[in-house]
Amino acid sequence: MRESADTIDAAAAEWVVRIDRRLTESERAVLEEWLSADPRRTGALARAQAGWVYMDRSQVYRAAGELRESRTARRWRVARPWASAAAILVAVATALWAWQGYSRTHFATARGEIRQLNLADGTHVTLDTLSRVSVRYGSATRLVSLEAGEALFEVAKDPGRPFIVQAGNVRVRAVGTAFVVDRRSDASVDVIVTHGTVDVWREASSPEPAVRVAAHKRLVTTPVQAARLAELTAAELSGAVAWENGVIDLNGRTIGEAAAEFNRYNARTIVIRDPALASQTVVGQFQATDPVSFVTAAAAMLDAHVRTEGDRLILEPGLTVQK
């Protein structure tokens, strides 16, 4: 009778816990023998060990103290909407930051990487693909320089120390709020405010008055033109910060724009030479690191097909079936 997956999983969990407290020599030999009998056992052990590591992520709850309290609490409230968990996030951030080591001030993401930084004061920074920030916290100000790319800032309240983001000569100041700063390739800087308000101004020879940007608004600042303020609908706002979850939101964007967005994240690039095809608009949410799904879905929708050429996914009109 073949051993069931469940039995193997049970034994694998036991081994992981034994490995955690260090194996004796004889146990080591028993483990070797156990593993050699069935490849599924190696797989189950690998999975259990991965799970063990995965659960380190729950470390972040350490500072929240919530689970700690629950050790004595009789009843456990399961549902906990994240909207009301800002306090936990602040505490969580502190714990995470403690992990990262105190000396680090420069952070960067590779192509396709989305990274969350948790700063000393409880501020939460999410870096989008190919982005770079440097952090300088002083006693009077909290200064973050966005050197490239795009970042979402969820700023912890500290009235005594304003939080200022530099993006080129553009400055964004917040006290306790959440906003996105996006340094675009055309040298303009987008500021999108999700919560609270921020002040935006340009550092120039002649000082400019700051523009106040409230929640649900986007401010586009270019090097030359006056800043433009626009109201965002709820859908536009969630689309603008969808990348935080590794999702590309294609609400009414053209296929061409969508392809450019995917290409920011992936080594496999989408190429669309046909302008008629590129100008079609699409709706949907896709995983940022999965351009293949996107072009395949786009091809199916637009009676087009996908041709692969090395690292390039070429979307072409016509239903030519390619295997």
Partner: protein, 193 residues
């Protein structure tokens, strides 16, 4: 650590574990009934654990699905009654299939929320021991001393906590219903075709 390196365990934790729920759903739909998802997933982890390097894997999801597909084909080939239909079905079902529908992935925060709830569901004694080990970073021996129980008892609680949490990682609670509905629609469409 024997069996796999910590680095490999981390890689699996980051790139593979989060894909498990959707992989299981795909297997339920695409794999022949005689093959158990749990078996195939153990075999897939074994393959990924035994690779000399994973640094060349740029698309872990595609790699995982490809690996599982090969495993299924091997099983079909080895079984005495080769079912041509099943073989063709699996060969044709591309890795893309799962990705065709726009999907929401779990954000870091949702992932943490899920773990948080899973830990909350643990029996009290298991949870205490788990928290002491994982959050306070206490060795098992020290936990036993503090709780005045045997090391064996601590080990048992740890095993139970780990097993329950690993079980939780098999499914997502959130978008399950939506996904199941969509899968039915996809099945219907493929039958109609």
């Amino acid at each position: 650590m024997p069996a796999i390196s910590t680095a490999r365990a981390q890689w699996l934790a980051i790139h593979i574990m989060p894909l498990e729920p959707q992989l299981r759903r795909w297997l339920k739909r695409a794999a022949p009934h005689a093959l158990e998802a749990d078996d195939l997933i153990q075999e897939a982890y074994a393959k990924l654990a035994s690779l000399t390097t994973v640094s060349n894997i740029t698309h872990p999801k595609a790699y995982l699905y490809q690996t599982v597909k090969h495993l299924i084909l091997d099983h079909i080939r080895r079984s005495k009654l080769v079912c041509i239909e099943a073989m063709a079905e699996i060969s044709q079902s591309t890795v893309l299939e799962e990705g065709l529908t726009p999907e929401r992935i779990l954000s870091g925060r949702q992932e943490l929320e899920r773990l948080y709830r899973a830990i909350a569901r643990l029996p009290a004694a298991c949870r205490s021991v788990f928290l002491m080990r994982k959050f306070d970073d206490m060795p098992q021996k020290a936990i036993a001393a503090q709780l005045r129980v045997s090391e064996n008892t601590v080990e048992k609680h740890m095993v139970r906590a780990l097993r329950m949490l690993l079980e939780d990682l098999k499914t997502t609670e959130k978008d399950f219903d939506i996904r199941a509905g969509r899968d039915q629609i996809a099945d219907q469409a493929s039958r109609d075709a």
